[in-house]
Symmetry: C2
Subunit: 364 residues, 2 copies
């Protein structure tokens, strides 16, 4: 890792930490954050860890008007011996740069970002909850902050890493969720920004989510924007189907986000010699499999939930109950394997985990 | 107009006004702004005019991460007798509410917004430049400012109106622009947010704009995301074609923004008994018309440029030079008619202009 000078200004006061038993997702934040600034002609500068504090922006800042912003999401886990583990953080920094490129934003130095993250976590290590299912959610993001009302890439940016101790993303935990197959709204289309982790993709999904919630369904399954038949992904998860012994997931096509959990699961499935395919999957194919009794399991995958089994798909009123609405054996096995690797309860055969044991010890 | 109590706190200092001769678009802002806040369960409150000042937001504010934000754009013109004119401002407030609805954001009271705008402009009237082609650009916008890292509608919002004295949007003025017909990138698709004025639509267009600029073309003409053949709109303009005596413009289809300039032009054309159609227009049709010598004029329409004639369309290297690269007579007639109505140089037969003469006189 490069050694970048990161200035650190510690906070005078410490906030009270939330009760790990009742932790929710994304509502409390730690005492410090990392930030750096970018100016055209200068590049990234002023890397620093500072007390968590409000951001001050001109009302004409480009991010408010033209949505030039990119983010990432990953987690840190702490085990009882104090070791802190990050799951494939270099993949997040790589994807962040791909997103930045799509949004015409300047790339970050991935090593710098990893170093900043590590230093920040060292300072905030007491914020990492240790209760089963809890973790420290890490949110790196970049916003365009030039004050200019014109549709052009900003000449100024600010990079942040903020941290939030979290419980399970889905209140139901590993229990299966019910999903609405969306026919009216479209999240993203080939040629758009669906492959990038950028704000607009999420804003556009809120309306469909609202409709789903009114119908008692917790998430939306997006279909492609062109033919309205090929499956894309769920709100903030990729999706997998187990059909007649084979696991299939939509291929990366430019309009879905390439999840790091998805990538890891594909790796595990190959490793376990379970038949697996990345290809186009139509909703009709799923319906046919369901009717033939071959739709064995459905599950979403993402950092927040890790694995989220799907117990019901609702497509235009046509209801497909999967595996009797229960968590299937493959979903459970993947969940256990991944979370055990992430939390250090199992070996890490693929070198996915960055352990911060030694680096933390230095400070302890 | 309803009479809402709007608290006013005037600034102690006044900024220097930019030279109207060298005004650019969207870079300088006036001394005051309007703002109001929304909290779930309370509604919009704390309507106030305050000194133009930075916005302070939690780094976890939803707008930074999930892009829940909507904006509008309109202009105020001031004539030498001091009269201030707004062009169809109620249409902007109506469209703002349509955009807010698409983004699951709370509606504003349109009359309140108009009243706020009027009061703000009264205070800032000396900022409205009077030189030909200049105006005061008005940017109302709403941002989601709850600190929450979850994909759900915010429970808190802030509404702003900021003002910026502007010259012509296109440095070339009414001279024709060259446009790239975009084959790779897509701005919006049916089912998405293309019909709303929201940040993500603009962020997604930056990459294509970058490619166009590299090729010496100043704007992008978007094709539909499904068949990649039907014409949608330009960067921040709707588009019109005059083919063999008939004016055609893409019909409103859910993925393009329904421009107020577009609406006004359609009205004028009907009024003038010029044949006009709102329908699907394919790029092949334009090519055929061009080859048959029937593509008489092409122009973009929008608040910033009013009318922007297109002198060249470049589609995959195939170049269509329109009207010898010169401004056509219809574009010129529309530009003159509209700007004369907007600036009070001509009658306002359709009651499009809101004159602030009396209201300003009260304060003078
Ligand atoms: C739209 C979308 N799809 C899929 C995912 C899953 O990606 P990952 O496994 O990297 O968390 C996410 C993010 O969490 C997402 O926001
Ligand atoms: C995407 C887009 N299309 C068209 C327009 C034209 O709309 P209006 O005539 O209301 O300015 C705008 C805004 O100015 C726009 O942003």
């Amino acid at each position: 890792m490069r050694n970048l000078p990161i200035q650190t200004i510690l906070s005078d006061s410490r906030k009270e930490k939330p009760n790990p038993e009742t932790l929710v997702f994304g509502r409390s934040f730690t005492d410090h954050m990392f930030t750096a600034e970018y100016d055209e002609g200068i590049g990234w500068h002023s890397h620093r860890i500072v007390p968590y504090a409000p951001v001050t922006l001109d009302p004409a800042a480009i991010v408010f008007h033209y949505g030039q912003t990119v983010f990432e999401g990953l987690k840190a886990y702490r085990s009882s011996d104090g070791t802190v583990r990050l799951f494939r953080p270099e993949e997040n920094m790589k994807r962040m740069n791909q997103s930045l490129d799509r949004l015409c934003m300047p790339k970050i130095d991935e090593e710098m970002a990893l170093q900043a993250l590590t230093e920040l976590i060292q300072i905030e290590k007491d914020w990492i909850p240790t209760l089963k299912g809890t973790s420290l959610y890490i949110r790196p993001f970049v916003i365009a902050n030039e004050a200019f009302l014109g549709v052009a890439p900003s000449k100024k940016y600010q990079f942040f890493i903020i941290l939030s101790p979290v419980g399970s993303y889905y209140k139901e935990g590993i229990h299966p969720i019910k999903i609405l197959v969306e026919n009216e709204f479209v999240r993203a289309v080939k040629g758009g920004t669906g492959g990038a982790k950028t704000a607009g993709n999420y804003a556009s999904g809120l309306k469909a989510q609202e409709v789903a919630n009114e119908r008692g369904l917790s998430q939306v399954l997006w279909l492609d924007g062109v033919e309205r038949k090929y499956i894309e992904e769920v709100g903030s998860m990729n999706i997998f189907f187990k059909i007649d012994g084979e696991v299939v997931t939509p291929a990366i096509n430019g309009s879905i986000l390439e999840g790091i959990t998805r990538k890891s699961i594909l790796h595990l499935l190959h490793h376990w010699n379970i038949p697996v395919a990345e290809r186009k999957v139509s909703i009709e194919e799923i319906q046919e499999a369901f009717e033939a009794g071959k739709l064995e399991e459905v599950f979403g995958t993402g950092t927040a939930a890790v694995i989220s089994p799907v117990g019901e798909l609702n497509w235009d009123g046509y209801k497909m109950v999967v595996n009797d609405g229960k968590t299937g054996p493959l979903a459970r096995q993947l969940f256990n394997t991944l979370t055990n690797i992430q939390t250090g309860l199992a070996e890490d055969p693929f070198d996915w985990v960055l352990e911060l044991k030694n680096e933390l010890a230095k400070l302890a």
